[in-house]
Assembly symmetry: C2
Homo-oligomer: 466 residues x 2
């Protein structure tokens, strides 16, 4: 986006977009709104979605056109909800797509922690976080829930970049103080200090210039139970209860983590987090592959959600997260890229990996096993479920009015151009229904197809002008 | 490519490219040739790759520069071998990324067969095959092994499009005559006719105008054992033995197919194909997930290869192909997109799915199983193995001198531009080694990064001019 663009509507006037919109308001429901008029308030909320056969369509269209406040999408372009990425490690951006062939211990100790330790330097932080936010917007990610680092300065730079570039964001000050798990060069000096700095960050985010509308929110962020002392977890839990702020952490990701927490706390991650006060309606736990049936029930009861990170799970979680069964038990969930445990910044890639992972879980993988012993049936999800995960489900997980194209929601949206120069989305108008078009978008859209990215009614990325 | 471009060197003069080249000559060997001079003959062969510290580097560079025959890649651009896709269903291009949520039987009978039946119409065939070849070249696929249809006219159009646009290709006339498996509207009238038409197609391809260099080769193509009578399989096998032409088919893809062939023939697909004369040094069998240990040994002995199609396997093969163990047993293999059983035309996507699939096989997928019962260890491959699969391994499978950047090979290559406008390949020059750059390319390159595609020394696609 060029520097003159504003993250809020320059005029403050209502405007309208004439378009065909796709969204997935429920897990298995594709909604096609053909040639509707999406009316957006000067504050960036969707005021109405007027159907083509509604008598108001003509009058509202004419009124906005006369006022110079009408945008019409060209043929081959479609409106989708903005993509919601509920698990991103912002400081890991420079190593995205790298060091994925080394053991986890080396990945953490040799690569990840030394990199994360650098964000006390504001200039370095800005050199990473500016392109990070730019490129996620270019990929259509309108909302990101970020793990930052332990550094006040780096986290502030990240929050400022989101505000400046107009990305809706939740930014977490990472807390980790367990000497047995965290390196000396990158850990909190004490639980007390980590809690105090987290509380200060919550206040600082609210007071950032330009954040009166709450575009950027703070997140209480214990890295995961193994890297935090009980004192730290209890302190952060009390803070969550007192402030109502969002919470994020990792949970039951791998065999090792699951077992480690069982041995240390005598219970599962989810139940331990609950005991510490860290499981709330605004909690998002990443991965959660090894949740027990009772864990899922607890999560559903509390209203906490899982960040499903299908790509990084293949690499680091020893298994596939059973999204279909978790949903059947009413547990909330959203989708995470898990940069850089996941190598791709594209939530379209995350959609595709979520489908693939669910098929692997459903069918099993080892051809040497008899078919009956191979899979775990009824585990599949399809492209509509994946779209829901990456949009409306994420909005619900974050307790924000985003992810659907309907009145009352923020106008956080993307325009997907199937005719873009480098498009692999190949539409055959004679044989593709609107539902087919959407399926082809989910399966083949890339950053090259994202021609516009909108957050709260403001155009924050336009392809070719970044 | 604009219409004035020629698929062979316009001048017939040797020329040189100054570049950093990546390739994977062996399964686990990454070769980085930094700032080398790749000297290409007028016939499109690599004559020499001259290292930067070789005394000839300066003189050869100066000589080519003086003759106006030097190209130097800019910073951030790298030379890779052209991508080799050994399994593409050309007629399924219009349904790529569609109907993947329906049962296999519907996918075949309601979608795929009716679509394939349309290619007796030359105009329709051209309307599909022209963009198909264009878009595969734009994605960096310099060689494709295609399943066509039963139609002489459609297959000829496909071969002509490959010649016209300069893609190296192997084109197969599909044969299928088993009434119990093939619909009445789309099957061969008799085994005899199918064999005769296959033979005629082999002759016709050799005689196509512009094909004296053999850029396009014919392939004997029984669809798979279930859709062919014994008479047809025997006839095609005899043809393969007599002509030495390439052979392609599907083999032991799914539980159903594997079991069906066992029951019908009393043996496995691989052994049955061998008995019919269809397993040769130039045979590529797609999928092959359910090969037995003895099948793999037979394949290795004969020199036949597998088209590993990791993406479509998730959807249709009930399991993951164990690439690592097949390679350990010396069996040849290449990589296939399997359009449209696979939804992506990008061989970079295929690389990523091959890695993901191997991790799923290695770790297992079901978190409800104990760790020890979940996976099948030593199954992982990494990004170097994946690059090898998509390049040098494919060249070896096809018995063609392609897939490596070294003297004696055809100059079939792509230029990957990490600085392309829509690039998700994010390089940090201070911290990324050349090997890191290659890893980031394999994990995040898309069509948008493929700035040039070269086949046999001719520039056949240039980004932004398609």
């Amino acid at each position: 986006m060029n520097s003159t663009a504003s993250p809020v509507s320059a005029t403050g006037l209502p405007w309208a977009m004439q378009c065909t919109a796709f969204d997935a308001p429920q897990a298995d429901t594709l909604r096609v709104q053909s040639e509707v008029l999406v009316v957006v308030s000067g504050q960036g909320r969707i005021e109405a979605v007027i159907a083509r056969d509604d008598p108001r369509w003509e009058t509202e269209r004419a009124r906005h056109a006369a006022a110079g406040q009408l945008r019409a999408l060209p043929a081959g372009s479609y409106l989708l909800p903005g993509l919601v990425d509920v698990h991103v490690h912002a400081p890991q951006w420079p190593q995205m797509g790298k060091a994925l062939d080394v053991p986890l211990e080396d990945w953490l100790q040799q690569n990840t922690f030394p990199l994360e330790a650098r964000y006390g330097d504001a200039a370095f932080a800005e050199s990473v976080y500016r392109p990070l936010v730019q490129q996620l917007l270019a990929n259509g990610t309108t909302t990101a829930m970020y793990f930052g680092t332990l550094h006040e300065v780096g986290n502030r730079v990240l929050a400022e970049q989101c505000l400046r570039q107009g990305q809706r964001a939740l930014v977490g000050r990472v807390a980790m103080d367990e000497p047995g798990q965290c390196p000396a060069f990158y850990r909190d000096a004490s639980a007390r200090q980590a809690v105090a700095e987290t509380e200060a960050f919550i206040d600082a985010v609210a007071q950032l210039p330009g954040n009166s509308g709450g575009l950027v929110l703070p997140v209480i962020t214990p890295r995961f139970i193994p890297s935090c002392t009980d004192e730290l977890l209890a302190g952060l839990g009390a803070l969550a209860q007192r402030t109502g702020a969002h919470v994020q952490t990792h949970c039951s990701e791998s065999d090792w983590a699951h077992q480690h927490v069982l041995e240390r706390t005598g219970t599962t991650d989810a139940h331990a987090l609950h005991r510490f006060g860290l499981l709330t309606r605004r909690t998002v736990v990443a991965h959660a592959n090894f949740l027990t049936h009772a864990d899922v029930a607890l999560m559903a009861e509390v209203g906490a959600s899982v960040a499903h990170c299908p790509l990084s799970n293949f690499y680091f979680a020893n298994s596939v997260f059973p999204a279909r069964s978790g949903h059947a038990q009413q547990m909330g969930m959203g989708m995470g890229s898990d940069i850089s445990g996941g190598y791709s910044p594209s939530m379209f890639d995350a959609c595709r990996h979520a489908i693939t992972a669910s098929y692997a879980l459903d069918e099993g993988v080892d051809p040497d096993l008899p078919s009956a012993q191979r899979g775990r049936h009824n585990a599949r999800i399809d492209h509509v479920f994946a779209l829901w995960l990456a949009t409306a489900a994420g909005g619900k997980a974050l307790d924000l009015p985003i992810g659907r194209i309907e009145a009352g929601q923020h106008f956080d949206a993307i325009v997907v151009d199937c005719h873009a120069p480098d498009s692999n989305v190949c539409i055959w108008p004679d044989s593709d229904s609107p539902a087919d078009v959407l399926q082809k978008i989910i399966y083949n859209a890339t950053r090259a197809n994202v021609s516009q990215t909108w957050v709260q009614g403001a155009l924050v990325h336009c392809r070719g002008t970044a």
